[in-house]
Symmetry: C2
């Protein structure tokens, strides 16, 4: 359906959104994260067609984001769990929760609250600089070529 | 093209990916963030059709994520800048850079490096608990109903 192969671009945003850039996929990951792990339950919760759900799940297993394991042999039934790669991808979702809560929740307020098991408090995810620990804002970042860069000269001039 | 209205779901992930869940949109925001702000330059850099680009830009302006301003009156030409809402959305992209660099960069390594202007170091975005400051992992989070929740009972039982 999608003709451009974002996963092949030399850009970590393109590569991430090659997976997440289809809202059902983000919501499948959300559901597995909150403990909805079985096909029929996922289908019921999301209200998505079985065909689309099966495709998304198969892709996420292929990519190593989800692991599939049997929980019944007669009839054969499977459930899905997050791999380490998948759990790390849920972190991107946690950043999106912070944005959605702030900018898209409206008067009703946040649909869900996150409690950090470590400190026991209701919280939200905050982006911080891994080096100095300060809060990281987009306008405090400069972008430079990395080792995997494939950047045309016309763009390099701007960076 | 997309029949399900993710923006209307009571979920901050669905609401965020109603905007970001189309990879071109994420890449348009990336480009504006790194300083590629004019229509023709965006079109050249992304290699996307003018029609798709115009649609995405108009939607992002409508949503208040980008602001459009004229930089030439003859001929009329516009450039796009991030609003505060948009700059905050770029933070979600910064979280995705960290994931893509770790899990999708392969042997070539990260395509781009982020330098934090505050401390001057090359860095990556780290998600931390806004309350206690510890690093936040998906598996250290419990999800609870928020004020804007619309959660069916069958799901509530699991939370």
């Amino acid at each position: 359906m999608q003709r451009t192969d974002f996963g092949e671009m030399a850009c970590s945003i393109a590569r991430t959104f090659d997976i997440l850039g289809e809202p059902w996929t983000a919501l499948v990951l959300r559901d597995v994260f909150i403990g909805i792990r079985r096909f029929d339950e996922l289908q019921r919760d999301l209200g998505v067609s079985r065909k689309v759900l099966a495709e998304r799940l198969a892709r996420l297993v292929d990519l190593g984001v989800l692991a599939r394991r049997g929980y019944s042999s007669r009839p054969p039934r499977h459930e899905y769990t997050l791999t380490e790669k998948g759990s790390d991808l849920v972190s991107v979702l946690l950043a999106s929760v912070a944005w959605g809560d702030r900018w898209a929740a409206g008067e009703a307020g946040p649909p869900a609250l996150l409690r950090h098991r470590g400190c026991g408090e209701l919280t939200h995810a905050e982006l911080r600089c891994a080096r100095c620990g300060d809060v990281l804002h987009a306008d405090g970042i400069d972008v430079e070529d990395g080792p995997g860069a494939v950047i045309p000269d016309r763009i390099k001039e701007r960076l």
